[in-house]
Amino acid sequence: MAMLRESQIMKIHYITAIAALFVVAVHILMRLIMPYSLSLEYGNVIANYHNIPYVVLLESILVLIAIHGFNGLRVILLELRQSKAWEDGVIILTIAAMMAVIAYGTRTIIVASGLGFE
């Protein structure tokens, strides 16, 4: 089932972790450049989504954390039990969940930024 060696997958796991650290730090700083409660007001949040570099940042956070998080879940589930059926099931489940989360999050980003469909 595996298309990549486990060592290659772990390199992806570490690279997504380090990259996510930087982009999430910027995402958190955007909540702190004004009083926290003010930063959550609808107008301010939508203004963030109309800033194209910030939209790119949000999409990269979404993809990086989805890959890192669901691969982490895959590793945990494979540590708990080992069999061909279990391994295949876990890989299919985690990839499907990762793609669903990325698709749903991307839809929010596109709609909120006014770039696409409603």
């Binding site: 926290y36 609808y42 949040v45 998080g69 669901f70 982490g72 039990r81």
Partner: protein
């Protein structure tokens, strides 16, 4: 004992046993717990922010649910989990690359693992201290009334 009689499949109970291998086992356990917790928060956060697409009223209704004392406590926990997971994760990246493990030595009684040295232990403590500091700062922002 017959090989067939051995029950090595401890499953989640083996995973949850933090006492058998000392601090590194605790760190292993926390890394997985915080990882699962952060993944759950990530999925919840994506669902939460999707209310933006339904207009200001839906966003305000979602904020009423999440911007509560309980919501802030959960957010503080997320701050602590993410800081620990990041700091300990950096330690693990170095460790998996062979850094900070020390030199292999002769196994002498009481057979402490050479790899579990002061560098590894201090890395775990630094991750815990950073998590506590981040939670304190997060509390000052979230509960400080700004």
């Amino acid at each position: 004992m017959e090989v067939a009689d051995r029950n090595n499949r401890e499953g989640i109970m083996g995973w949850l046993n933090p006492g058998r291998y000392g601090w590194e086992r605790v760190s292993y356990w926390l890394q997985r717990l915080t990882g699962v917790g952060l993944l759950a928060y990530f999925v919840g956060h994506i669902y939460e922010t999707s209310s933006l697409t339904q207009g200001p009223d839906a966003w305000a209704a979602m904020l009423e649910l999440t911007q509560t004392p309980m919501g802030h406590l959960i957010l503080l926990l997320v701050i602590g989990m993410s800081t620990y997971h990041s700091a300990n994760g950096i330690r693990l990246i170095f460790t998996h690359g062979g850094k900070g493990l020390g030199k292999p030595g002769r196994p002498d009684y009481p057979y402490d693992a050479v790899s579990l040295n002061y560098r590894q232990k201090s890395g775990i403590w630094i991750a815990l201290i950073l998590a506590a500091a981040a939670m304190l700062y997060g509390a000052s922002v979230l509960l400080g009334g700004e």
